[in-house]
């Protein structure tokens, strides 16, 4: 569609990029001015328009993957000024797919939230709905700016908009617990953003520009960019909540209202993750070393193990999903170790990057669906204690189905996007001979299967007759459309593996699910079986009394005790890491370690 104009200048269709940012900002500002029912209507009205713009951008981005950022991108120069003086907006394939996924998730969350945050006609608005319908488009605006920004300072501003819109979402209900979670989130995120800003200053001092394309041509191995790279990376990791910098995530994501949790977990953490990818692949592809990339992936592996084991020990459904997010964030960072090409000593835009981005997209859709389904389950049952969720499958069958399908997609079962992502990452691991990451990737899928089984076993069980009378007094009715929104998102996540992504992601054309039936079945059965074993060993469940089942469990005795001890110890380690001084020291230690790894690894 759009033909790149030779030389500097805006490309045809570049104005779409401005629309992608202006529409949500306008919706937030107009909604703030209008107030009452109109705030909700304006936000909802902006959803289909923004989705259309995102799809148009994805269609207009010229297919080019392995070439540098200057080609194969949609560009718009603000005011016609070319960098380094001007500011450019750019959309490449990665931006395009993230724009579309963000739009899809925001639209689904908007539909879901109509049940929780409806504003009655004519009535004066209450605080929480009014704030929500402004924060929703604002988060969207921040994300779209993150995906489109062409220079590091615009990225900084976009990151701050995203954080400032995300923090109030955490404490919409105004309870003390959630206010504390929001304050912790904000203070720790601010530390991260100052580190990012300090790195930006260093890069500007060294090269006199912050434009990503210009920087990619100028950055060379020298002390200033190495320190800048370490500071910016660690700052962004603090905002992404990669272990051990995750002190704010579990209480914030578990305490927010369901629509807020879905946005925070699916999209907000992806914003800072996307900037890490931009930084390592586009700004300084030649700077990373073996040590630095392996370190980043090791943190990811630690996040997978810690997040999954703690998730298996949770009593409450929302905390379980929040810890699962922690594990999935770790999964995303595996791509750095796999994408580093030892021969050219540079980051390669190839199958590992494509797998990581696909995983981010699958996680965004699936995790939003799971948080929304958990919200419906909470309303229907009056609580979210996993042990007492029996019978939820009859009360809100569609929400439970959405939860199950979202979990299935996340565990990497075909034909989900996560399955294709897993295949791509495993392919990269085999190609580069790094079998240890293949083990971690498989373990990640098995752990996801484990906590999915743990929840489904309770939710699908027949209602407890003893507790039924007690629960009946609390339960509320759930409308059909919030459940349908969750189900649609889960289906999207499950069908991502069927799309040919070669136009946008750096993979060969036709790379999609084409394996034989036997392979597909094996891929589907393995995470479920291994997950079942993990759930039985580590998961939180009570031993059934009497009968053959109890005797079977008794034979497991020592193994089960070992699993529980392991789980408890990991929980204690998590609580230790999540204390403020510990997280602060980890932040500094990681900055130093990354600096050293970047410097000595060559």
């Amino acid at each position: 569609m759009a033909v790149p104009v030779s030389g500097p200048g805006s490309t045809e269709g570049g104005a779409l990029l401005v629309l992608a940012i202006v529409i949500p900002v306008a919706a937030a500002l107009l909604g703030f001015a209008a107030g009452g029912r109109r705030t909700e209507r304006i936000a909802l009205g902006a959803l289909p328009i923004g989705l259309t713009v995102a799809v148009l951008i994805a269609a207009a981005v010229p297919p080019a993957s392995a070439v540098p950022l200057t080609d194969g991108v949609l560009t718009y120069l603000l005011g016609g000024w070319a960098p380094p003086l001007g500011v450019a907006l750019r959309a490449d394939g990665l931006s395009a797919v993230m724009l579309v996924i963000a739009a899809v998730v925001v639209c689904a969350v908007g539909v879901f939230a109509r049940a929780d945050f409806a504003i009655a006609d004519g009535a004066a608005e209450t605080r929480a709905p009014f704030a929500f319908w402004i924060l929703l488009p604002m988060i969207w605006a921040g994300l779209n700016t993150v995906f489109l920004a062409g220079d590091l300072f615009t990225l900084y501003v976009a990151l701050e908009i995203l954080t400032f819109a995300a923090v109030p979402l955490v404490c919409l209900d105004g309870r003390g617990e959630t206010l504390q979670a929001a304050l912790r989130y904000l203070l720790f995120a601010l530390l991260g953003s100052v580190l990012y800003l300090a790195g930006t200053v260093l890069l500007y001092g060294a090269y006199g520009t912050l434009d990503i394309v210009l920087l990619s041509q100028r950055v060379a191995v020298a002390p200033a960019p190495l320190v800048a790279g370490a500071l910016m990376t660690v700052g962004l990791l603090a905002k992404t909540a990669l272990v051990p910098l995750h002190l704010w995530l579990p209480p914030a994501h578990a305490g927010a209202p369901p629509a807020g949790s879905a946005l925070l977990s699916a999209l907000v953490v992806k914003g800072s993750f996307f900037i890490v990818v931009r930084l390592w692949f586009d700004v300084m592809p030649g700077l990373p070393s073996v040590a630095a990339t392996q370190m980043l992936s090791t943190l990811g592996a630690a996040a997978i193990v810690l997040g999954s084991v703690v998730a298996l020990r949770q009593e409450r459904l929302k905390l379980l999903i929040a810890y699962s997010t922690l594990a999935q964030i770790g999964y995303l960072f595996l791509l750095f170790g796999l994408a580093f090409d030892v021969d050219s000593a540079a980051m390669q835009k190839g199958d590992a990057l494509a797998g990581g981005m696909l995983q981010a997209m699958s996680h965004a859709t699936a995790k939003a669906a799971m948080f929304m389904a958990a919200g419906s389950i909470y309303v229907a049952m009056g609580h979210d204690r996993i042990a007492a969720l029996a019978g939820a499958g009859r009360r809100v069958p569609v929400a439970v189905l959405a939860f199950a399908l979202g979990g299935v997609a996340l565990a990497g079962l075909p034909p989900g996007g996560a399955y294709l992502a897993k295949e791509l990452l495993l392919g990269a691991a085999a190609r580069t001979g790094q079998w240890w990451w293949a083990v971690v990737i498989q373990a990640g899928g098995a752990f996801t299967g484990a906590y999915l089984l743990l929840v489904l076993a309770r939710v699908l069980a027949p209602p407890d007759r003893a507790a039924a009378g007690d629960v009946d007094t609390h339960h509320g009715r759930v409308a059909w459309y919030p459940q349908a929104a969750a189900l649609v998102l889960a289906m999207v996540s499950l069908s991502l593996g069927l799309v040919d992504w070669s136009a946008w992601l750096p993979i060969p054309p036709g790379a999609r699910l084409a394996a034989s039936v036997v392979d597909t079945l094996a891929a589907a059965v393995w995470p479920v079986l291994a997950g079942g074993v993990l759930a039985v060993l580590i998961g939180r469940w009570t031993t059934p009394s009497g009968g053959r089942l109890a005797r079977a469990v008794a034979t497991l005795g020592p193994l089960r005790r070992g699993g529980i001890a392991l789980g408890e110890n990991v929980c204690r380690g998590d609580a230790f890491l999540r204390r403020w001084p510990m997280a602060g020291v980890s932040l500094l230690a990681l900055a130093v370690a990354f600096g050293a790894a970047l410097w000595t690894g060559r």
């Binding site: 900084y156 800003l197 500007y204 810890y323």
Partner: protein
């Protein structure tokens, strides 16, 4: 000592003090102040960069000044948001500690409210 070096060292000291306060002091208001000190250090550093990088023949590079202004606006909004949250937190719970109850106990959150 050139003025660039003096200001650069001052920036480093201010940023270091701010970082220390933000990490070590358990009181949220001190953390907010620490963040502001840290931010000031980075802004001062940006000023030094502007002076040193006077590339285009100006007495100083004008771009960092524009960026610092934006950065100050962002830091101001962040502080306002943090102080408002802190006040609301104190009004609601009567405490301003960041490490109590469910949030500090970590994973095994048993409090059901």
């Amino acid at each position: 000592m050139s003025e660039v070096l003096v200001f650069g060292l001052c920036a480093a000291v201010v940023a270091g003090l701010g970082l220390y306060g933000a990490i070590v002091d358990p009181r949220p208001l001190r953390k907010i102040l620490g963040f502001n000190l840290l931010g000031s250090g980075v802004f001062l550093f940006f000023g030094v960069v502007a002076r040193r990088g006077a590339a285009a023949g100006f007495p100083g590079d004008p771009v960092p000044q524009a960026l610092v202004i934006t950065g100050i606006v962002v830091a101001f909004s962040a502080t306002a948001l943090a102080v408002t949250l802190l006040l609301r937190f104190f009004e609601t719970t009567g405490s301003s500690s960041l490490r109590d109850g469910a949030a500090a106990d970590g994973a095994r959150d048993t409090a059901e409210s």
